[in-house]
């Protein structure tokens, strides 16, 4: 059984306004680290605020362990939250901040002290317990927020871009720590971010959102290599997926996908999938690392071009080239490739993704 379940969840901020969250269905397992990923304004914050009870819902239901929580106030939902601004109370010491939830629960003093210290230890802030937040750095305040979130032993952790105010170095080390804490507590977490590398490195599963809709739910590997839509393919990955506008035709009894510069013979195993599209336009997407470069022409050659620019990345190079009007990026292990050289590009077997140009969805 799923632990947390969103059922047809809707949200509008004004009566006749847009659906900010649109019929969202999602189920989260116990112990899972789920990441909401999407561009700014897609409704990630709204969704977790609805789960926490800080925002009313406009339709649908939210269930924790099978029970609807939509009529409960935030404090009775068993969730705890790490806010983007940390929301550490400036007029309380670190100790008071962490113990605040326990004091409200009227937990016995010794027990409270023990729990506050234990959670402070988990986040390495024991030595700052008597300080005020203004005497702490951003990273330390963040730890206080984490400490306060874990002290209540919640059913679910909600984190809204908790790392976005930290500098780049700290962000990376802190995300490892968050993941460690998540694992050591056996917690269930929802983490919101618009940073895909954060999402990729933390998530058990990623929920990719756009305009209040879920575009895809999957493991980091799935959302990267097995995209459900053009949006996901272009949003995930740096550099993003290369797209080609092509036509599906039948040539010599094989299905071929082509335009004036490009020629791709579909593997037999995929023919059935694209058979209905013969004679129609199609969008083909290939990840930069799934394009291969060779110095000579072959049957597999996808297109022929010049390596206009080469950007060394250390372990590999990014080759920027042009086919027709569109710019294409290729990630290649050929470190000593020279710019302006002629290149013959082919697609790794079964690594092309095909999208319907009307629905922008993957053709399966």
């Amino acid at each position: 059984m799923s632990f947390l379940e969103l059922v047809n969840l809707d949200k509008r901020y004004t009566q006749k306004g847009n659906l900010i969250v649109n019929k969202m269905n999602l189920s989260i397992h116990k112990g899972e680290f789920l990441v909401f990923l999407g561009p700014s304004g897609c409704g990630k914050t709204t969704t977790i605020r609805m789960i926490s009870g800080l925002e009313d819902i406009s339709g649908g239901d939210i269930l924790i362990e099978g029970k609807s929580i939509i009529n409960l106030p935030p404090k009775e939902r068993g969730v705890s939250m790490i806010f983007q601004s940390y929301a550490v109370w400036p007029h309380m010491t670190v100790y008071e901040n962490i113990s605040y939830p326990l004091r409200l629960q009227k937990i016995d003093k010794d027990e409270m002290d023990r729990r506050v210290r234990a959670s402070a230890e988990k986040t390495n802030i024991t030595e700052y317990l008597s300080r005020y937040p203004s005497q702490l750095s951003g990273g330390q305040r963040q730890r206080v927020a984490v400490s306060r979130a874990i002290v209540v032993e919640p059913k679910i952790f909600l984190m809204d871009e908790p790392l976005s105010n930290l500098d780049a170095m700290l962000r990376v080390s802190m995300r490892t720590e968050l993941k460690n804490i998540h694992e050591s507590l056996g917690a269930t977490s929802i983490f919101v971010t618009h940073d895909q590398s954060e999402a990729m490195s933390l998530a058990d599963r990623i929920v990719i959102m756009r305009n209040g809709l879920i575009e895809q739910i999957g493991t980091p590997k799935q959302v990267y290599f097995d995209c459900e839509s053009i949006f996901v393919a272009s949003f995930i990955g740096t550099p993003p997926t290369n797209f080609f506008n092509l036509k599906v035709v039948k040539e010599n009894n094989r299905i071929v996908i082509k335009n004036e510069n490009i020629h791709y013979t579909l593997p037999i195993s995929e023919e059935k999938m694209l058979a209905p599209y013969i004679g129609q336009d199609i969008i083909m997407g290939v990840r930069p690392e799934n394009l291969e470069i060779s110095q000579s022409s072959s049957d597999e050659t996808f297109f022929v071009s010049n390596a206009d620019f080469i950007e060394p990345q250390g372990s590999h190079v990014i080759i920027i080239t042009k086919v027709g009007e569109s710019s294409i990026k290729i990630s290649s292990p050929l470190l000593d490739l020279q710019a302006k050289n002629k290149i013959f590009v082919s697609v790794k077997e079964n690594k092309a993704m095909f999208f319907d140009p009307k629905t922008e969805k993957r053709i399966r």
Partner: protein, 348 residues
């Protein structure tokens, strides 16, 4: 560049000196008045220095068998004071005009020496509390007035802070129709001279049996201060990050607990500043108190009446004013600490 900074320094020094003088000189005169005795108060020109003693020049007049006592002012000039050989008369005169507390016998004993050794100057310590004692003596309701003032102040602070901060919170946090109009209207209330409201309010207060009560008076004082408090606090509430309140809700508090434990403490500087204004409005007002009370004056009113009844004894009114100022000073200094307390000013 350097020349400019010297110029700047000079200007700043001049400005600060002017400001200091503008503040200090009147205060010095005022204090000197409050501690003047009945003779010093009529001296001209006045010295803005408090004197702690009185010097008299005493001659023995054999013809009438009496002492001629002359007052010696700070420039050494003598003024006739009293001719007498009665200890009682001398003692009364010394108390009333010199603020010197000596029995007749003590004085006569001191003066004895003049008979044999000729005229002589004597210096006596002034009783610095004389004016204060006299103020309470001649102002029959001074003690009651002090209590009244405190009650009026407490009511005023309570009413204006409670209503004002709630109104300020609503303006800061909620969207509702007419919000802009309300906040402008609050400022307009502030522009009204309270005396203008006093008269119509008197009628209403009589209706509700609140005329001549401190609660009635506090309601009047609260009117402009509710408006002011809403303005001051709403600007602070707007600045308080909502996430701080939301965190409190998530971590187990209800709305009221959140307001009391999170929002209000962070708005403390605003509350302190507002309470200072409320205090001063209620504490210093005379004119509205004159209109809205009958038998129960506030201290400010009592002082005002002491001056009005007793123009010849300005020093007692000045002493009354000091009594009026002291609580205001204490309150201001206590509260000032909170006004300046911005959470986060403590640096590493």
């Amino acid at each position: 560049m350097k020349k400019l900074s010297v110029l700047q320094k000079t200007i700043i020094t001049l400005v600060m000196t002017t400001v200091l003088l503008a503040v200090i000189v009147p205060i010095m005169f005022f204090l000197a008045n409050a501690f003047s005795n009945g003779t010093e108060i009529y001296e001209y020109p006045k010295t803005p220095i408090i004197s702690f003693s009185v010097t008299v020049y005493v001659e023995y007049n054999e013809l009438n068998n009496e002492y001629t006592v002359k007052y010696v002012n700070r420039r050494g000039e003598q003024q006739n004071a009293i001719n007498s050989n009665s200890g009682l008369l001398l003692s009364n005169y010394f108390e009333q005009y010199f603020s010197v507390y000596k029995t007749g016998d003590e004085l006569l004993e001191d003066f004895e020496i003049v008979k044999t050794e000729g005229p002589k100057e004597f210096t006596y310590a002034k009783n610095m509390f004389h004016n204060f004692k006299t103020f309470f003596y001649i102002t029959s309701k001074a003690e009651e007035a002090l209590v009244n003032s405190i009650v009026a102040v407490l009511f005023t602070i309570l009413i204006s802070l409670t209503l004002g901060s709630m109104c300020g919170y609503a303006i800061a946090r909620f969207r509702f129709r007419g919000k802009d109009q309300i906040s402008v209207f609050l400022l307009i209330v502030r522009m009204f001279p309270t005396v203008g409201i006093s008269i119509p309010l008197a009628v209403i207060l009589i209706r509700f049996n609140l005329f001549d009560t401190m609660l009635g008076l506090a309601i009047l004082y609260s009117l402009p201060n509710i408006a002011l408090t809403s303005w001051i606090t709403s600007s602070i509430f707007v600045g308080i990050n909502r996430e701080l309140e939301e965190a409190s809700l998530v971590f187990g508090a209800n709305g009221f607990q959140t307001f009391m434990k999170i929002t209000l403490p962070m708005a403390l500087p605003a509350m302190a500043a507002s309470s200072m204004y409320a205090f001063l409005t209620a504490w210093n007002d005379t004119i509205s108190a004159l209109i809205l009370t009958n038998d129960h004056p506030t201290l400010a009113l009592a002082v005002y009446q002491a001056i009005g009844d007793n123009t010849t004894n300005l020093q007692y009114a000045a002493a009354g004013s000091i009594i009026l100022i002291i609580p205001a000073l204490i309150f201001t200094f206590v509260v000032r600490k909170y006004v300046n307390q911005m959470w986060g000013s403590v640096s590493v």
